[in-house]
Symmetry: C2
Subunit: 103 residues, 2 copies
């Protein structure tokens, strides 16, 4: 869907890596949560608590999930899953617009 309706949006941004990665938190009536964010080109590593579905709406990046040895290329329109209590590395090539769902 192109927009989320009847949601609660936290006004202040989440800011990481000196602003090169930022997101806004969206709360849904069913108790679930997503973040909508932007990643500037660069190399990052993130840890997870909940499992995550990362939907890349625009941009291009290579990702490496913990325990894997091969980087995967992910482009706008594609997505990837990250297990709970894990981590992943990203090499963002072009400005990325993403939606992260906490599962």
């Amino acid at each position: 869907m192109s927009q989320f309706e009847n949601v609660t949006l936290v006004k202040a941004a989440n800011i990481y890596f000196d602003g090169k990665v930022t997101s806004r938190t969206v709360l849904f009536a069913d108790g679930t949560r997503k973040t909508l964010g932007i990643m500037m080109p660069g190399d990052y590593e993130f840890g997870t608590e909940a499992a995550e579905l990362m939907e890349i709406m625009a941009g291009e990046m290579d990702i490496l999930l913990a325990g894997e040895s091969e980087w995967q290329t992910i482009k706008g329109g594609e997505s990837f899953n990250v297990p709970a209590n894990s981590s992943f590395k990203l090499q963002v090539k072009t400005v990325a617009d993403y939606c992260c769902s906490y599962l």
Copy 2:
């Protein structure tokens, strides 16, 4: 307020200046609209159609409104107004988190 409730959030980001300025559009039940955005350090110029209230939640910048000759310094917690059909220049010094209301 720290969060917006019962709003519609457009999923895709608005991306300007190669991603150095990005925002998300929030639609309210009363028909009004705001954007929540991030500006990375840099120099920018924006035009307005509707008048805007720019609330700076975090960061620091100097601004110059069209027709004025003196730059003003705006810091997190401060805001400024821009007239309709006008423009303004920004020199963003530190990563800025903003809320723009279209009046």
